[in-house]
């Protein structure tokens, strides 16, 4: 007997298979039964384009530029989001509000141009954290794929939330779960 490190070595006795066992019929049927059983189990696949999985409430998707309850833009083009952005994806140009534009912009300064380069953006949410006016937040939709690079420079028109008065239905849709979290934030 060869030298062993432990005394736990066991010799396995393997009997030669009988003629019926050599046919493997029973074992094949056993295996097929397991496959067949799965036909009646719950299907785990989510049929994606028709159905979507519910995202986590902390999911950070496409950016949205926010409006207040009267439909005026919150953004004052302070540039804190652009400074906070680790990928340098945000650019903006500020402009001064003139008389008669009070229904459009909440404060005297506003963003005349606001662009986010979705090619560079890493959806970290630091812009949302940096914003003192609650003007930008990350929504629950994923950024769609496209063929051209230039389609990923999202302008202000692409980012602004629908008007809460004129387009209330789409506004609520764009807010999504966030409308609940906003309420709790106010009460606490």
């Amino acid at each position: 007997m060869a030298y062993t490190l432990t005394n736990r070595k066991q010799f396995v006795e393997r009997k030669p298979m009988s003629w019926v066992e050599k046919l493997y019929l029973v074992n094949i049927l056993k295996g097929m039964f397991i496959t067949f059983k799965h036909l009646f189990k719950r299907k785990p696949t989510i049929q994606y384009p028709e159905k979507t999985r519910t995202f986590s409430p902390v999911f950070r998707g496409l950016h949205v530029l926010n409006r207040d309850e009267d439909g005026r833009e919150n953004c004052t083009a302070c540039g804190l989001c652009a400074v906070a952005c680790p990928a340098e994806a945000i650019t903006m140009e500020a402009a001064e509000r003139v008389k008669g534009e009070e229904y459009l912009y909440r404060e005297e300064k506003f963003a005349a141009k606001y662009e986010i380069n979705m090619l560079r953006c890493i959806f970290c949410g630091l812009c949302e954290e940096a914003c003192p006016k609650d003007a930008i937040y990350l929504s629950e939709t994923v950024t769609p794929a496209n063929y051209n690079r230039k389609t990923f420079i999202y302008k202000k028109d692409d980012l602004l939330i629908p008007h809460p008065v004129h387009d209330a239905e789409n506004y609520q849709k764009a807010l999504g779960q966030r409308s609940h979290s906003l309420k709790t934030k106010v009460h606490s």
Partner: protein
């Protein structure tokens, strides 16, 4: 060049009786078959590959769209999903893999690193600022990393592109955009 610009077409076009009907029908069948059996090449260089694996698994299951068999050899693959950062050292390998793939071949750039360098965009000596510096890209997916839903959307986008039968140059010329279904 416009899409149906026959005058400036580099070559000779001979009209055959009934040719547009039969060839057009055959062409659409070929495109349909092509778009529904795209075999991806395993090319995951960083964290986007985890989402790619998730898309391949039972919950999302991209084999429903014909992306069934992930090939380890570029000779057998139709589409390369660049899932992850391309560093300078990886760039020649990516180029070689693309060259070894047989036509028709398609490229999906997945995630911020593959489409623009993303978080490494500035002050990084080692990262290629976008995979399309090396090989032409058909579909871009933003995200860091993109969700499996975003990757599935990109795969459907690529299928639509193949069904249209446009070349990369034609898409550039007509400034074609994929209709945004999310907004």
């Amino acid at each position: 060049m416009e899409l149906n610009d026959i005058e400036n077409f580099p070559g000779q076009i001979e009209q055959v009786a009934g040719g547009t009907v039969s060839v057009g029908a055959l062409d659409s069948v070929v495109k349909w078959a092509r778009s529904n059996s795209l075999w991806p090449l395993t090319f995951g260089t960083s964290c986007c590959a985890i989402e790619l694996m998730s898309t391949a698994s039972a919950k999302y299951d991209y084999s429903r769209f014909g992306f069934e068999v992930v090939r380890a050899s570029p000779r057998q693959a139709d589409v390369i999903i660049i899932a992850g950062t391309i560093v300078n050292k990886m760039a020649p390998i990516l180029k070689r893999l693309y060259d070894q793939m047989t036509d028709p071949k398609y490229v999906i750039a997945m995630g911020a690193c593959a489409i623009s360098g993303g978080p490494f965009f500035y002050n990084t000596y080692s990262v290629v600022k976008g995979a399309d510096h090396i090989i032409p890209v058909d579909v871009y997916i933003p995200g860091c990393p993109p969700r499996p839903e975003a990757l599935m959307h990109a795969l459907i986008t690529l299928q639509d592109k193949i069904k249209q039968g446009l070349t990369r140059e034609q898409i550039k010329a007509v400034n074609y955009e994929y209709p945004n279904t999310y907004k």
